[in-house]
């Protein structure tokens, strides 16, 4: 509001019509208010861009060539998160499922087009490096934690579900059945467990063939690259999650092209906050330039009106618009 204080004219409240002085004063006051907003906006847009990519952040690696479809991870996950016990019938894997409010991770079965053998794919939150959901959250309930998992604060979530619109992987769920305390439900990589020394997510501890492993993302990435290099014929030459949607905390190795096993291969490599960054940066610009532009237009119109009044034209507005 510095602009307001700077107005030292002892101006009496303006007449009920919008005088030019009144207009300028209002515009100046707005400029002050808006300047504050624009500083905040710029800082935050940078905050999105400035993801520090802590090299020691945690991640997960799922090697689909090792997964046998035992669904022990589903059970361990349900137990760790107090969710209903998953159905024991393996037939549930035949129709693709997505993570839900009752199951934060699910395993789906596909067929390898090369040899007709089954391929299993574990689905859960991808823990993006620059999460679309976190950038979409208007109260900051979803955050990329410094440790790596994308975590959720139920206590401040208002339930607009824009995060679910934004998530390119379709892994967020909402507890629609709760009347008064619905919340977003998702995998948080067993955040409280991994914060303790030596702790690891329930699904990784439960995996008999060690298809899903836990560790520092940088090390998992190296391990994945090594596996591809050692057995190039076994794997597709791609680590899903290395750069998808700007990079994800969960990495996948597969023998089958990823689009054949239900992966969202159309997500691109751009970090999702980038998609709205330009708009958010344009906001303070519009707020700064609108008062000037509108004041200018208003001033020109007033001057023209005055001029035509002086020359005796009674209806200044009629001119030039017909």
């Amino acid at each position: 509001m510095a602009d307001m204080a700077g107005c030292d004219c002892n101006c009496t409240p303006g007449p009920p019509t919008l005088s030019r002085r009144g207009f300028f004063r209002a515009a100046a006051a707005l400029g002050g208010a808006v300047a504050l907003g624009s500083v905040a906006g710029t800082k935050n847009a940078l905050a999105v861009e400035d993801f520090d990519g802590r090299p020691d952040r945690f991640g997960m690696l799922t090697d689909m060539t090792k997964c046998v479809g035992c669904r022990m991870c589903e059970q361990a996950c349900a137990k760790a998160n107090n969710l209903p016990t998953p159905p024991s019938d393996p037939a549930v894997m035949d129709t693709p499922r997505r993570p839900s409010a009752q199951a934060f991770t699910v395993v789906n079965k596909y067929t390898n087009p090369a040899d007709g053998k089954p391929v299993f794919r574990k689905v859960q939150c991808m823990h993006c490096d620059e999460p679309a959901c976190a950038s979409a959250c208007l109260v900051g309930a979803l955050k990329k934690s410094p440790e790596g998992p994308v975590v959720y604060n139920e206590d401040i979530c208002i339930g607009c579900r824009y995060c679910m619109i934004a998530c390119p992987f379709g892994t967020l769920s909402y507890d629609y059945t709760s009347a008064l305390t619905p919340a977003v439900r998702k995998c948080i990589m067993c955040y409280s467990k991994i914060k303790q020394e030596g702790g690891m997510p329930a699904c990784a501890s439960a995996c008999p063939p060690k298809a899903t492993i836990f560790g520092k993302r940088s090390e998992l990435l190296k391990a994945a690259q090594q596996r591809i290099m050692q057995e190039p014929g076994k794997y597709v030459d791609q680590i899903f999650g290395q750069s998808e949607a700007g990079g994800t905390g969960w990495l996948y190795l597969s023998a089958v092209p990823f689009d054949k096993t239900g992966f969202k291969t159309d997500v691109g490599k751009t970090p999702y906050p980038e998609y709205t960054k330009n708009f958010l940066l344009a906001v303070p610009m519009v707020l700064m330039m609108w008062p000037a532009a509108l004041t200018g237009i208003n001033a020109i119109i007033r001057r023209r009106d005055k001029g035509s009044e002086a020359t005796g034209k009674t209806e200044p507005h009629e001119e030039g618009r017909r």
């Binding site: 019509t17 208002i158 629609y176 009347a179 208003n298």
Partner: protein, 410 residues
């Protein structure tokens, strides 16, 4: 019940309640005047809506909506919020026309437009309260939980600020009704500042509603997804607002005949309507061009022949390009009826666009599609009905369609 009549005949001076709230009638007269077919239908709709509200807050969204993890937004966001905000744009459009472009002849229709805007936004928030998981936390982004990287944060703040602005803009009418001259004089002064601020806010949050979908490049159909989508939403809100003003003033002149002047007034309105039609036409043609650039930018020509592509053409040609030509045609020949029909078609086109972006073209590749539950339609219908009832209540009491004789024009 004839007793009340005799009381009235006694020529007892009207009480404040009778004068201000019952429109100069006693309670029983007023109550009897409310028994109309329209009100009966309204009552049924509102009662059903209230029943759904009870269901929503006792059994949850699952019991009252067809929302799912794949379709987190349905009719209540796609229609009540997205479309509601666009159709409430008349307030800022006309405020710009009169206060910034100084086209004073449009002044008589500013107040009804501002009222439409104010109530429109108010009911957008009511609709939102049905949809939000925990609506009582609605003030959170205002009072200290700042998700500043979110376009939604911007929308939240702007709707809150703009609702306040519009209340201030409309407050002179409230004070004139109450006869509070000092408050009215004070309100008129700040109303002008609020109007300018409101224009800026509107530019941004109209476009921000479109910008929400920038985060869904893989989910929104390429013919609708475009980096230009914020601009599309902003520009379409302008002609949505203008067309709504035409529709609203047409209906007002039919319904509130006792409040508007005679043939002279009608002629005046016709002249303004012609002007509005020309303005809408220009904006719509511009908008059509921008939508076309969007298709080129996305290189999505190949999709035009698909069913959704034809649907897209219906939206941008059938409900934008053609009405834009019809507006000009009818305005040149002063075909008032055609202008008014075209305005209604244009409003439908904007509804279609918002519904397309948020529902029909959204998740276009998903095998399972969303269709609203009956209870979702019931709530939407209730909200529209409450809007109409409150609009009528205010117009019947406050100087909206006419100038209050005791006060000079703003």
């Amino acid at each position: 019940m004839t007793a009340s009549y005799t009381e009235r005949v006694d020529s007892r001076p009207l009480s404040w309640v009778e004068e201000k709230l019952f429109m100069g009638q006693t309670f029983s007269q007023y109550a009897r005047s409310l028994v109309t077919p329209f009100n009966a239908v309204a009552a049924v709709i509102v009662l059903v809506g209230l029943a759904v509200a009870v269901m929503r807050f006792t059994q949850g969204l699952a019991a009252t909506t067809n929302l799912s993890d794949t379709y987190p937004w349905g009719l209540w966001i796609g229609f009540d919020v997205m479309t509601g905000v666009a159709l409430a744009a008349g307030g800022y459009t006309l405020a710009t026309t009169v206060y910034i472009f100084k086209l004073d002849e449009y002044r008589p229709i500013v107040r009804p437009a501002v009222l439409t805007g104010l109530l429109g936004y108010f009911f957008v928030v009511i609709g939102l309260c049905f949809d939000l998981g925990r609506p009582w936390r609605l003030p959170f982004p205002i009072i200290g939980y700042f998700g500043v990287t979110s376009v939604m944060f911007l929308v939240g703040w702007h709707v809150f600020l703009y609702l306040t602005c519009q209340f201030v803009e409309f407050s002179p009418a409230v004070f004139e009704w109450l006869g509070w001259k000092r408050f009215r004089a004070w309100a008129v002064r700040i109303a002008l500042g609020a109007t300018i601020f409101g224009v800026m806010l509107s530019t941004l949050h109209q476009s921000a509603l479109g910008a929400l979908f920038l985060l869904a490049p893989t989910k929104l159909h390429p013919l609708w997804y475009s980096p230009l989508i914020p601009i599309n939403f902003f520009i379409s809100s302008i002609f949505a607002g203008i067309s709504m003003v035409i529709v609203e003033s047409t209906l007002s002149h039919k319904v509130f005949t006792n409040q508007v002047g005679g043939p002279e007034h009608k002629e005046k309105l016709d002249k303004l309507t012609v002007g509005l039609a020309k303005a809408a036409s220009t904006v719509m043609f511009t908008y059509f061009g921008i939508r076309l650039i969007g298709v080129m930018h996305s290189d999505a020509y190949g999709l035009l022949g698909t069913p959704l592509g034809l649907w897209f053409l219906l939206e941008v040609v059938g409900f934008v390009l053609i009405p834009s030509f019809v507006f000009v045609y009818a305005a040149r020949r002063r075909m008032m009826r055609l202008i008014r029909i075209t305005a209604a078609v244009t409003v439908l086109g904007v509804i279609l666009n918002r519904v397309d972006v948020s529902m029909i073209a959204f998740n276009w590749q998903e095998p399972v599609r969303y269709f609203p539950a009956w209870s979702e339609f019931a709530v939407t219908l209730t909200i529209i009905m409450l809007f109409l009832l409150l609009f009528r209540w205010i117009v019947n009491r406050m100087p909206v369609l006419y100038d209050h004789p005791d006060f000079e024009a703003e």
